[in-house]
């Protein structure tokens, strides 16, 4: 298919890799922030054919993985109510809460439905005036414009039976938190192309300057990723630290103005807890004052629930890039994509699931 096949050409990928091998003279550690990129890198084995010493760390950019346990537990509490139709992107259904997941709740009779787009949830509310339709509004800057538009449409339609449980996260504060952490090893970032398609890259410029870290806006196909890595390594080798754009065909410096305007009307920046990572200032989105009538959290007054992670799961270290899934004692045994004990095993964007789907075992990734 156009704009996909060309960027998967193995012959061109090999040329890029050759160039990368010619360019890299020293070891470098690069983080791809986005789980979609992790998926491509691991599935294609890109991280295994890099020059010796060039190492990819898989970042926290998996929305399913970082949605806080408390939000999942709230979703479960709301979805259990008889008047509620609970709607969600499909990959949130198997995310383990403290006690079970949405799929299990549905099996026990709750009305939990998968929607492809949040506009489908708005339509459900229009079609079911006697029910409360709640949408689980999670994700990064890529899903925020869609979720914001759903709220706006519901407001325009005067719907009183539609609300959103918001747990949005933002990428730049996570990059800052990673650079600030005392055990940070990351020397360059591949920024998520689609996040930047919405937001542009101006937010990253002060980060590159402040930390002296190259940040390359990168696409999602194999050629994009190898070229992104090459662009990062070139900067590192030359001692530069700039924001560069590999994904020129889809990303403009200021992003998508129309989307940013709607996001700014519906959402405000807030403190957010990231599952496995902790609380980061200014790292999330919540509804603005004007739209609090659509806040499911307020409408259903879910109390703070006491939350409990599976004690064997090392997701926090995996999301920070300090350990690999294969370091986890239950990886591939008690924890598999069919029986996930932690969020990173749920969606293909999670590092544990990406490793498992690519058939990586503890043996094949032993280092040194």
């Amino acid at each position: 298919m156009r704009y996909l096949d060309e960027y998967r050409d193995p012959e061109l990928a090999r040329r890029l890799l050759d160039e990368l091998h010619r360019t890299a003279t020293r070891p470098w550690t690069i983080m791809e922030v986005c789980g979609g990129q992790t998926h491509t890198i691991v599935r294609q084995g890109i991280d295994e054919v890099l020059p010796a010493g060039v190492r990819m760390i898989h970042g926290p950019g998996c929305p399913v993985c970082v949605t806080p346990l408390a939000a999942v537990d709230k979703a479960l509490a709301i979805a259990a109510r008889p008047e509620v139709i609970f709607t969600s992107y499909g990959d949130m259904l198997r995310v383990p809460g403290s006690h079970g997941d949405l799929l299990g709740l549905r099996a026990r009779g709750a009305d939990v439905r998968v929607v492809y787009t949040p506009l489908d949830a708005v339509r459900l509310a229009e079609q079911n005036p006697g029910r409360q339709v709640v949408f689980f509004a999670v994700g990064f800057e890529t899903t925020a414009p869609a979720n914001a538009m759903a709220v706006l449409r519901a407001a325009e339609a005067g719907l009183t039976n539609f609300s959103v449980l918001v747990s949005h996260v933002l990428v730049p504060p996570a990059i800052t938190a990673i650079m600030d952490s005392p055990d940070n090893q990351v020397q360059a970032f591949l920024a998520a192309g689609h996040v930047c398609a919405v937001m542009g890259w101006t937010e990253y410029e002060p980060i590159a300057v402040r930390y002296g870290v190259p940040i390359v806006v990168t696409g999602f196909e194999p050629l994009d990723l190898v070229e992104g890595i090459l662009m990062a390594v070139r900067q590192l080798e030359q001692g530069r630290a700039e924001v560069a754009n590999q994904y020129v065909r889809a990303v403009r410096r200021n992003g998508n103005q129309a989307a940013r305007e709607v996001m700014a009307r519906v959402f405000r920046v807030t403190r957010r807890t990231w599952r496995g990572i902790g609380t980061i200032d200014h790292s999330g989105l919540a509804l603005t004052e004007r739209f609090t009538a659509f806040d499911a959290d307020l409408r259903f007054a879910t109390a703070e629930l006491s939350v409990a992670e599976n004690p064997q799961c090392i997701a926090g270290e995996i999301l920070r890039g300090t350990r690999l899934p294969t370091d986890c004692p239950v990886y591939g045994t008690a924890c598999t994509p069919r029986t996930p004990l932690g969020a990173p095993m749920v969606s293909s964007e999670g590092t544990c699931a990406a490793f498992h789907n690519a058939g990586r075992t503890r043996m094949s990734t032993v280092e040194e």
């Binding site: 298919m1 156009r2 704009y3 996909l4 060309e6 960027y7 061109l12 090999r14 040329r15 890029l16 050759d18 160039e19 010619r22 986005c34 789980g35 979609g36 998926h39 950019g61 998996c62 929305p63 399913v64 992107y89 499909g90 990959d91 949130m92 492809y116 787009t117 949040p118 506009l119 489908d120 999670v138 994700g139 990064f140 890529t142 899903t143 414009p145 869609a146 538009m149 689609h194 398609a197 919405v198 999602f220 050629l223 070229e227 590999q246 020129v248 065909r249 889809a250 990303v251 403009r252 998508n256 129309a258 989307a259 709607v262 969606s347 964007e349």
Partner: protein, 82 residues
């Protein structure tokens, strides 16, 4: 949910609601085009959760590929096929 893919706009509904049909290699879906008001039928857009968030620039797409194709092919040179 976070995976965006490019698709080609087949048609834009004339009712002003900014909805259109996008073809993803044979699979057609209804997509909200409110965030890409400049897009026309035939254009490629990147779609996330039912919303086009960006148009694909064909000139830039070609340029990226040309840059990669221009990388000297060491292997072919060695095999004498360059």
């Amino acid at each position: 949910m976070c995976l965006g893919i490019p698709g080609r706009i087949v048609e834009i509904q004339p009712d002003g609601r900014a909805m259109g049909t996008v073809d993803f290699d044979g699979v057609r879906r209804s997509v909200c085009l409110a965030y890409t008001p400049e897009a026309r039928p035939g254009d490629y857009v990147v779609v996330h959760v039912g919303f086009a968030i960006s148009t694909v620039d064909p000139d830039e797409a070609a340029r990226t590929l040309a840059v990669i194709r221009a990388i000297p092919d060491a292997l072919a040179a060695e095999l004498g096929t360059a």
